[in-house]
Symmetry: C2
Subunit: 217 residues, 2 copies
Amino acid sequence: MTVQATSSDRADYEDPRITRSRALIMAAAARVFIEHGYPGTSVDDIAVEAGVSKRTVYNVFDDKEQLFRAIIGEAIATAERFSNELVATTAEAPDAAAALTALARELAASVLGGRVVPLRRLLIGEARRFPEFATEYYDRAPGRVMTAVAGALRAFDQRGQLRVDDAELAAEHFAFLTIGASLDRALFEAGTDAASADAAIERAERGAAAFLRAYAP
Amino acid sequence: MTVQATSSDRADYEDPRITRSRALIMAAAARVFIEHGYPGTSVDDIAVEAGVSKRTVYNVFDDKEQLFRAIIGEAIATAERFSNELVATTAEAPDAAAALTALARELAASVLGGRVVPLRRLLIGEARRFPEFATEYYDRAPGRVMTAVAGALRAFDQRGQLRVDDAELAAEHFAFLTIGASLDRALFEAGTDAASADAAIERAERGAAAFLRAYAP
DNA sequence: ACTCTCTTGCACTCATCCGTTTACTTTTGC
DNA sequence: GCAAAAGTAAACGGATGAGTGCAAGAGAGT
């Protein structure tokens, strides 16, 4: 065995064709799985959607389930990054009312507008088949937002701008007052949410107002 | 053609064997469909679960989809009846705080404890395939509760016990403050909810308390 | 240029599923 | 009791899906 390091020796090396195929397949699989669920999606569907041979799919992924796990894992990671930057922008703010109203708007726009709702639909629908993904998503995406909001509320409490006993519970109240109804309804409406985006933002603002009344000092 | 009416002439007549088979099949299909979803369930599974021949299934129902529609239709009707009696018990009450706290408890116990969560999971998972069922359920079960709660809140407002501008929005706030977080979490947790039932009821009470603070006169 | 790897298209196996047919037994209504 | 209707078990046809094999072409690294 040679000591010289070639590109083939690097453990993380990957043929660019496989990299490209993986990207195409994962993007297509994400679309199709989210659209039709796990049993409702065939590997042929994914291959066609990816513009790739079915044999190539099995060259990159061992089987359908492993592919699904890769898709969900990536989607959860994306949702987690998303949650982190969402709460990072509203970490410290002087005025509680302004900060929470702004957070409510951002929450509504990002959760209702992006791919969060289809992902949640998929995870809920497959919660029996893949229970670990559902709980993992819940801990890493909404759970992270919730603890961050709880931290912010604790800060507002210490500054006397709010009166918060149980910050975790208050964070839940804030989240569900602002986007609870919109999110729940969106899960059942398979159609477009574009038209109702404005209504959701307004409901979020009014939910934030109700929260401020409930937790006023 | 004879004028005499025999049992065969009655339009609603049905062979008792078919009645029995239908009951067995629908009960079994409800279990299996809710457990594994529409594409994840085979007619053979249903027949075995019902303890009935597969041919009998096709003797009572035209095809798999019609059977599924019958199941969902019945489940929605049950949920609707359920919603109606839930709100009927708390229609008129003297004290707003006591009435809403009691309603919160009942809401949590019934929604989280019964078959509501699995049904919601199924409807959400198949929202793309059967969008009409998802919206129909939403209008007839939670929607009915929501309008009933809105009516009760309007009454409390007129009696000066609460200050409610938009009763529909306030009803949403009440519902999601009390059971929003518990319900959302239950959708993702495929496991048992029995242990968390007490926690859900306590969260419902504290949610009702927050609602009363937000909408105090 | 040469070799190794990936991709492709197609055919193939094996399993499953929907829905039907067949042959036979049991139940119901009269 | 008897004919009609329903039930059972098993097999079947047609279709689809998961996953594999293979020969030929295209791309990557040296």
